[in-house]
Amino acid sequence: MRFGYSADRLHQGYGGPPKLYAKAERVALHLKVMLMAQLRLTGAIAVTILIAVTAPAVIAQTPSGQTTPAGQAAAAAPAGDAEKGKVLFVKNGCYQCHNYEGHGGAAGARLAPNPLPFRGFVNYVRSPRGDMPPYTARVMSEQDLADVHAYLRSRPRPAPVSSIPLLTR
């Protein structure tokens, strides 16, 4: 049975620098407000859903997240403990789709080493737009998420592809 995580929009949302992500969110919100004023309720609901789903696609057009300074993403986050986050990442099943290093794979988006800014990260984990299972505050506190966020930010960046012969053939 197909699990369907591979196309999760989360992946595209995680890639962009925070400023661009915030800008995309603002653009999406602006569009939503304008359209809701013009459309009947049912249509507006549909458009709201559409925007919610497509907003990350806008973000996907931004440059690769590789260039994002880790500290920039961490600015809005409560203090997190990467070691605790590593344990929580496994214990709470995050690794199942995103793999142990948070590097993503066939079932889930790459999160590390540049996850969404903390507030966007929490929002997504609480109310995923795609297929990802939601993590409510009952099962993962904001501190837990801060620890996981810190763990993801602590993951090493990869060596340049050009330095890995197996990836140049």
């Binding site: 049975m1 559409l50 199942q96 142990y100 290093e101 794979g105 066939a106 299972p133 990869p158």
Partner: protein, 640 residues
């Protein structure tokens, strides 16, 4: 010559056969002695008799042997159909034809392949057929054997692959041995799999067998291809062949597959030529080696995007028009689906949350066209036909057979203006294809040195060892291999199981490797742990029959797909999110697959946890495989 069979009862048949056999043995003897009137009860000791007298048994003496039996003729029929192998776990209900294959038939074409599970037998046949394009035979008990085999038959059914299953059964209740033979007999053996096989029969005579055997072969190989089942009555197998029995084998002629209606093909050509962003999606399209070349020609003629769903080896992975890793569907104005297993699923996304929802992934107004034999044949009970796709033009035909006429129609419809546009489009697509490969390599570089080994690193390390060989992927993750390897030959992939029945991978890989063996190709199996645990005995089959196969394990120590499903339920209910692994993990103890494989006679190494150890281990395994034997490398991997 029309086949004829004397209409006699079993007892009369045996008496005639016995008399004929005795006469045949006596005939060459010059001094044929008169038949002695022997009273069995009156002969207390073995009488002194001449050799001729010993050869000429009196009719009253029970005849316990026969020179030829019905199953010999059955083997003649199987030989006429060109079967190279029969996969079987031995069973008494087909002991007659088993013996005929190995003795009367000389165990050559077909040769018996010893299997440890009927599911393995059928899955081997599944993998073999996807390489060779024709079936190999499977013997199984009509009851317990078929019950074991049924899931693999279902996989082959869903995958539209010809598998030729022959079931032993004792129909005559008065002839059954007490005990197990009753439990192993059934009124209507094939009924259990009739919902997911294309045709079956229970022949009542040898001429009936011959016709049905040829008919079954023809039906199995006519698109849409699918499994067929023949029931071999044990009496029919073991009954002596009377000397005056006249038998013939009908000629087999596999029908040419149906091509699309010419008007519909012309309309499709106009749509494709006029489209700004046509996308061709191929799934179970290429059923012969010509399929890939035809699709390349169609795509290049149009300079159209191709998305290979991977059900078959449809399109070169690094072809500039291959957009399988890009978001081609979202931009499409015409989507042409070729032998799609799930057209709806390609043009819609589905969200599996508390309330299940879906939405289109294409622009409004996008035209959908399908070419598929699926429109010619569908069953009601099992739901593998997927959700209804609203297409604008449905061509009920074999896609591979239809594409040549479509290419010609497209060429006729192209104008100079359109050709210029096509060239511009092709250049953009080539750039997108290069960018997709770069992205894949970048993504693969993350967690490159991680332990457990990343699945990208796993595939990259295998690629490093096989890329200069004549290789073929016979099972395993199409994901990273498709993204990183250069698939450019029609035999380099056989797709998946069809029905997603776990346990397909290992035996299908061995079956496919059996087919590749004669071509001298290096078969590569990316083997998951949960799949191998269903019937690991197939590794012994590979070792016993010297089937060269490189298996590299994607061992994530879990039935991981299900683990994720259970995690989803845990999260949905906000309880026990740290318990989602219970019931799905394969730990405590962790399975030592190297030892399992070694115990089954296969060269094996592992478990490997440090990615730096992986390349050398695969190199050693490749050397073993190139010597003509199977080898396995167990690698503890990241989950997905």
């Amino acid at each position: 010559m029309k086949p004829e069979l004397p209409s006699v009862g079993r007892r009369g048949f045996l008496k005639r056969a016995a008399a004929a056999s005795a006469a045949a043995l006596a005939a060459p003897t010059a001094e044929a002695a008169p038949q002695p009137a022997v009273q069995r009860a009156a002969v207390p000791a073995t009488p002194i008799m001449s050799a001729a007298a010993e050869a000429a048994n009196p009719p009253e003496v029970e005849v316990l042997t026969a020179d030829r039996t019905g199953s010999d003729f059955m083997v003649d029929v199987l030989k006429s159909l060109g079967f190279d192998y029969i996969c079987a776990n031995p069973g008494s209900s087909f002991r007659g034809i088993h013996e005929s294959v190995i003795n009367y038939g000389g165990n050559r074409s077909p040769e018996l392949i010893t299997c440890c599970h009927e599911e393995s037998s059928v899955a081997m046949a599944h993998g073999y057929a996807k390489v060779e394009g024709r079936p190999l035979g499977v013997f199984a008990h009509g009851t317990v054997g078929l019950q074991h085999a049924s899931m693999a038959i279902y996989n082959a059914w869903c995958d539209r692959v010809p598998v030729y299953v022959m079931l032993g059964n004792q129909l005559d209740a008065t002839m059954r041995r007490p005990g197990a033979e009753w439990a192993h007999s059934v009124q209507d053996a094939a009924s259990m799999v009739r919902d997911y096989s294309k045709w079956d029969d229970t022949p009542m005579s040898l001429p009936h067998f011959a016709e049905s055997a040829v008919r079954a072969y023809k039906i199995a190989l006519t698109p849409p291809m699918a499994p067929v089942v023949l029931v071999l009555n044990a009496e029919l197998q073991e009954r002596p062949l009377a000397s005056d029995t006249k038998l013939a084998i009908p000629k087999v002629t596999v029908p040419a597959p149906p091509q699309g209606d010419s008007g519909a093909v012309a309309e499709l050509a106009r749509l494709l030529v006029a489209a700004e962003h046509p996308v061709i999606v191929a799934d179970r399209f290429a059923r012969t080696p010509a399929g890939m070349q035809r699709l390349v020609e169609l795509a290049e003629t149009l300079q159209a995007s191709v998305v290979d769903q991977g059900g078959r080896m449809n399109f070169p992975s690094r072809h500039p028009l291959n957009q399988s890793q890009a978001r081609a569907i979202a931009d499409a104005d015409v989507v042409l689906g070729l032998e799609m297993s799930d057209f709806w699923g390609v043009v819609n996304s589905f969200r599996d949350q508390l309330t299940r929802t879906s939405r289109p992934t294409t622009r409004p107004g996008t035209k959908f066209v399908s070419i598929t034999t699926g429109d010619l044949y569908v069953r009601a009970n099992y739901q593998d036909f997927q959700r209804f796709a609203e297409v604008d033009l449905a061509i009920a035909a074999d896609a591979e057979a239809t594409v040549p006429s479509l290419i010609e129609a497209v060429k006729r419809a192209i104008t100079a203006d359109r050709r210029r546009l096509f060239e511009s489009r092709g250049a953009k697509l080539a750039e997108a294809s290069r960018a997709a490969l770069d992205r894949s390599r970048l993504e693969a570089s993350y967690a490159w040195d991680a332990t457990p080994v990343s699945t990208a690193r796993l595939c990259a390390e295998i690629w490093g060892q096989i890329r200069n060989e004549d290789w073929a992927l016979v099972n395993g993750t199409g994901g990273w291999a498709r993204r990183l390897w250069n698939f450019d030959k029609p035999y380099q992939s056989i797709g998946g199981s069809g029905g997603a029945g776990v346990g397909y991978g290992a035996p299908a890989a061995v079956g496919a490797a059996l087919a590749h063996m004669r071509h001298g190709r290096l078969s590569v199996n990316i083997q998951t742990d949960g799949d191998l645990m269903y019937a690991p005995g197939v590794l012994w089959t590979a070792a016993h029959h010297r089937i060269p196969l490189l298996s590299v394990m994607h061992n994530n120590r879990a039935y991981h797909q299900e683990l994720m499903h259970v995690q989803k339920m845990c999260n949905r209910h906000s309880r026990g999110i740290d318990r989602g692994r219970l019931g799905s993990e394969l730990v405590d103890p962790a399975i030592d697959f190297a030892k399992v494989a070694q115990g089954l006679g296969v060269h094996a190494e592992g478990p490997i946890t440090d990615p730096k150890d992986l390349g050398p281990a695969i190199a050693r395994a490749v050397a073993v495989v190139k010597r003509g034997e199977p080898a396995l490398v167990d690698v503890v991997c990241q989950p997905r």
